[in-house]
Amino acid sequence: MLRILHQIFRTGIVTEPLAPEEEKSVELVGERLEEAVRKVFEGSLTIRMVDAGSCNACELEIHALNNPIYNCERFGITFTASPRFADMLLVTGPVAGNMEVALKRAYDAMPPPKLVVAVGGCAYDGGIFGKSYASKGGVASVLPVSAYIHGCPPTPAAILTGILAAIGSKR
């Protein structure tokens, strides 16, 4: 136990502020949230993440949001297992034909406002997988998208910035 405590003190606080240049990876589309809703989400946002056909690189970088450097919980952001509790659906990958039904079901199970944020180049336009018998292309071919976070994969800082931008956070 002492060794654990010692290591925790040695490590200290490593969380970093977000750099403003990360905003260049973010593209907002569609309507913005009402002010009252925005204020609620600013301190407490619950996300359901769905991999609709990704190569897993975007998942690695979304995972990193939980590490002490990006520490998404400082913004009140948590990931939930159930879409029923989710304010935002974070989608990666081209939409694989075999995942289309499951993705729509996750979306249908969410309460309003059903924000959808598409992460990565594949979620934008299918990326290198394109559109084919097995891939529907970008997420917008299946769901209404509120924001795109570009990159292959986008960095954790870009993803965090994009999530905050999608809810209109002033941070």
């Binding site: 993440m49 690189a57 690695l60 995972h63 879409p83 394109g130």
Partner: protein, 523 residues
């Protein structure tokens, strides 16, 4: 029947007239009559060889029919056996009677290529879901990949269990965490798992077919996205296969840079898995600390190589990034600091009774079962299998910088974690040795164009395990077929077997200890 050389054994047992040697391109290849394809498997099985991969190709562009292929390994020897199939009804006798691993390879061949494995015990398509038209065979040349598939009514027949108190737990495809999708169906009594059946294919995005519409150069980018966590190893396997098909060697320094990237990828992923294993047993201290070490490596990757995961840095012909003197110094300094921190954490990890309580004995896969299924990589080595393509298929520079053999026998979640722990140490050592001995020279040379009908084979030890890649050039030298076998395509079978009689709540931990790829499996 053991002979020093399985190739010579096969030729002598089948008769030279029945075993025509193909030109060498990464591994020796034998062409045998279709009637002897299964006989070859039987002979190889009795000679203690492992079935690594099995696939079919559509050779109609050459005026031929379909062909079936199988790659085997024993010790340092890989060989490929192929048969041309009859035009009217392409089929071959199943290898499942001899090799368990053939079970899914052949379901996939039947579903996606429409070539039948006669006598296969399970005719349900694999990867191809029940709502696809039955006659859609995307890997055939006659199939237009650009056309969207209509969705049809279909039903997947799950394995059922009956009896008092038996119930079923369906999980997925959307899982609880930030993780890839797949479906697990448990048959359980109380907390005890009677059977687990996996249904995968949810992230099938037509990768193998996609290769056929790209150039060999573009293909490297796609290979780097077969499984994003294994981008270096997959791009390397692809590049080696293409280079072997061209009869070309990348510049020596490029091979050394590739190995350095490969070992860094191994360290990053093992650290991530150790973090995730700690998280799954609620040891959040370990989760954050290992995660921090991984993040440090990724940031150095970004600084030195321009990409955190090192995507698109390996391609046929070499690499796109070199190690500068400054970069070398940075890696040496970082590795030193990292390993010091790492050893402190491993001391804490090894001294934690609650970790041991969860990990020891969970998801145990016996060496006998692992051998039977041909389990590879970390999961294989945790179950007593001496399998490491860096040692057995020593592509440059692993003939000069030799990885340590790390093999445990208990086959449980603990062993799989501990193999990773040792491999992080070994990859750190290898990285330093690679930097120290790295030869000077060019890092890229354009490979010659592939001639029609050229074939290339490769095996690369990614962080999960052995990746097999096989490429075939069509008329005009363009890609005709690109087969990828991620280690997960074998190791998913091992997960099913390892959790029998375990508790349902231990499954997430056992699953994490394998950490199989969905995308690499589904392609």
């Amino acid at each position: 029947m053991t002979m020093s050389n399985i190739l010579a054994m096969l030729v002598s047992a089948l008769g030279a007239q029945n075993a025509a040697q193909e030109p060498y391109s990464g591994a020796p290849a034998l062409r045998v009559p279709a009637a002897l394809f299964v006989r070859a498997a039987e002979l190889l099985k009795s000679a203690d060889s492992r079935l690594c991969a099995e696939w079919a190709a559509d050779d109609t562009a050459f005026g031929r029919s379909f062909s079936v292929w199988a790659a085997y390994n024993r010790g340092a020897e890989y060989i490929v056996v192929t048969s041309d199939l009859p035009k009217d009804a392409p089929s071959f006798p199943t290898l499942t009677k001899h090799y368990v691993a053939a079970y899914r390879f052949e379901r996939q061949i039947m579903g996606l290529m429409g070539v039948k494995a006669d006598g296969h015990p399970d005719m349900r398509p694999w990867i191809k879901h029940e709502d696809w038209p039955a006659d859609a065979y995307p890997l055939r040349k006659s199939f237009d990949a650009a056309v969207a598939l209509p969705r049809v009514e279909g039903r997947y027949e799950w394995i059922k269990a009956n009896g008092e108190g038996v119930f079923e737990i369906p999980v997925g495809p959307v899982h609880a965490g930030i993780i890839e999708p797949g479906h697990f169906r448990f048959q359980a009594v109380g907390e005890r798992i009677l059977n687990l059946e996996e249904k995968l294919g949810y992230v099938h995005k037509g990768i193998e077919k996609r290769f056929e519409s790209l150039s060999w150069e573009e293909g490297a980018r796609l290979a780097g996205r077969i499984s994003g966590d294994t981008t270096v190893a997959h791009a390397l396997a692809y590049s080696l296969a293409v280079e072997n098909a061209a009869g070309f060697f990348a510049p020596v320094r490029a091979a050394w840079v590739r190995a350095l990237l490969l070992e860094r990828e191994r360290m990053c992923n093992h650290l991530a898995d150790l973090a995730a294993i700690c998280n799954d047993v609620s040891f959040t201290f370990g989760y954050y600390q290992f995660g921090l070490l991984r993040e440090k490596l990724l940031r150095t990757n970004h600084r030195l190589f321009g990409h955190r995961l090192m995507m698109d840095r390996v391609m046929p012909g070499g690499v796109s990034v070199d190690i500068t003197d400054g970069g070398e110094g940075e890696i040496i300094a970082e590795t030193g600091e990292l390993m010091e921190e790492y050893e402190r954490l491993i001391n804490i990890y090894d001294d934690n009774p609650s970790l041991k309580d969860r990990l020891y004995g969970s998801g145990a896969l016996s060496p006998a079962k692992a051998k039977d299924m041909g389990v590879v990589g970390i999961a294989g080595r945790a179950s007593g299998q001496e399998v490491d393509a860096r040692r057995q298929y020593p592509f440059l520079p692993y003939d000069a910088v030799i990885p340590k053999s790390i093999v445990l026998r208990s086959g449980d979640a603990h062993a799989r974690a501990w193999v990773r722990i040792e491999e992080v140490r070994d990859s750190a050592r290898l990285s330093l040795e690679l930097l120290q001995k790295m030869p000077q020279g060019k890092i890229f040379a354009t490979p010659p164009a592939l001639v029609p009908d050229a074939k290339g084979f490769s095996a690369v030890e990614g962080w999960r395990g052995e990746i097999i890649c096989w490429v075939h050039a069509g008329p005009g030298g363009k890609p005709n077929r690109c087969m990828v076998r991620d280690p997960s395509a074998v190791n998913w079978l091992a997960l099913e077997q390892s959790v029998k009689e375990d508790m349902v709540p231990d499954f997430p931990l056992v699953n994490k200890s394998f950490n199989n790829s969905y995308s690499g499996n589904d392609l």
